[in-house]
Amino acid sequence: MEIIFGVILLLLILLYFLYARIIRNKNNVFEALAGIDVQLKNRSNLIPNVLTIAKKFMNHEKDLIENVTKLRTKENQSYDKTDPKSIKDHISAAATLGSELGKVMISVEAYPELKSNETMIQAQLTYNEVEAKIAAARRFYNSAVSQLNNSIEIFPGTFLAKYANAQIMPFYEADEASKQPISAEKFL
């Protein structure tokens, strides 16, 4: 009888630790997501400055500039941080904005006057810095998501996840455009 009681107690303790680990992993994902949002906000704040200067010189890139403005508005919309679908949409919007903004920055090369503009040079440096920080935040988020997903996909995590109110979270993947090989000819 005592042995059975001991085994049950041991199982309960083990389940508690697994449950606590899922909660910890879930909170890590939220922390990482908040980290991404901070960096995305920094990028979002930078966009109006870049576009204001760009508009003066880049007459042939009106569509691109308008697209960036639209995507910025979409990215700034609030989302449900507990809903994986909502997170996925938010991440996807951020990735697309990143890709379009990247195109603007590359197009700058075609406008020598804009390229040598002091404010633009500063904006490009800040942009590089912000992108590097977004990349770092993305690595942290993906690492946290990987840990959470592993802990809830492996039994008895599947069973405990319901009680911990944890769900499989989406990874922050680079958008399709940035996965394409870059052709050097476009920039020559």
Binding site: F140, S143, Q147
Partner: protein
Amino acid sequence: MSFFINIIISIFSIFRLFDPNLLKSKKLGDSFKETEIYEKGFSKHYKKYLSEKVIKFETERILALKKARNNAFICVPIMVLIPFVIPYIDWYSIFGENSFEIVFCILFLFYGLLSYFITNSMNLYQQTIKTEIFPNILNFFGEFQYNHETQKSAGSYEYSGLIPNYQRETSEDHMYGKYKGVTIDLFETELEERVRTKDRSYYKTVFKGIMITLSMNKKFKGKTVVRKDSGVIGNWFTKKFSSLKNVKLEDPHFEKMFEVYSDDQVEARYLLTVTFMERLLELTSSFGSKSIECCFYNKELFMMIPIKKNMFEPGSIYEPEDFIDDSKNLLKELNLIFSIIDQLKLNMKTNL
């Protein structure tokens, strides 16, 4: 331990003093031949700042050797005679039960004292090379300062959490300067921990190498520490007793060799990009060391590089003095230090 090794080395070097050709002038190298890329331009520098000092220092070297040899002629016969005299003295009646240990200690100290007396002039000469010649070699890199003695202490880097527990510290060779816009502040140090056993206590070296502080082009919000991997149990203890959180990185080779801790997970990954991790691994292999450790804090990168060899030392006093070997050695060692900045690309303005 290094104290005993030094005594043994001094005793052996004493025997070289009896070489009949020791005090004869030998042919000096007339110019510095640039054989490595990092030596480019040094032959001009050598001509301007060092060649004129060669004759003066060669005379001083011969004088130092002469003095050491004269002292050796007095002391060595005493050193040889002592083992023959010792058995004829009744040490037991003088020191009692522990006479063997006491006589052994006295003899060791006595031999040490005699060796010091013989080699003192040689040591003083070599120190002069460090204080007068090394700064002239380092001038080659611009505003570089060198001090043989240093006030720097490992204690001032306790914030990094990398300094091991130690009771005795021996620091020397402090260098300060700029390379490609990055400020370098380094010194050589040996940290020893007192170990007590049932019968005795002794000092064990816990770190021997160089401590370097490099200025970074940006200020960090948090603290990120890269430690050597100390196995499952060691890492578990570090995690438990550290205020910093473990950072899991993607590079499996890097993860195998290092453990990263930080209070800012995003900043840690911003600093330790995939390329930076690769560079750190390359640096580790170029220093032939498995345990380079570092800490990013405030506006600095602090690094601890264990090196067995005593760095920044002048060449042998038994060789003619033309500063060519000294220069070549120092340039080689500094090139290794500069490779940290080059390999880690610390001079770059963005993205490290």
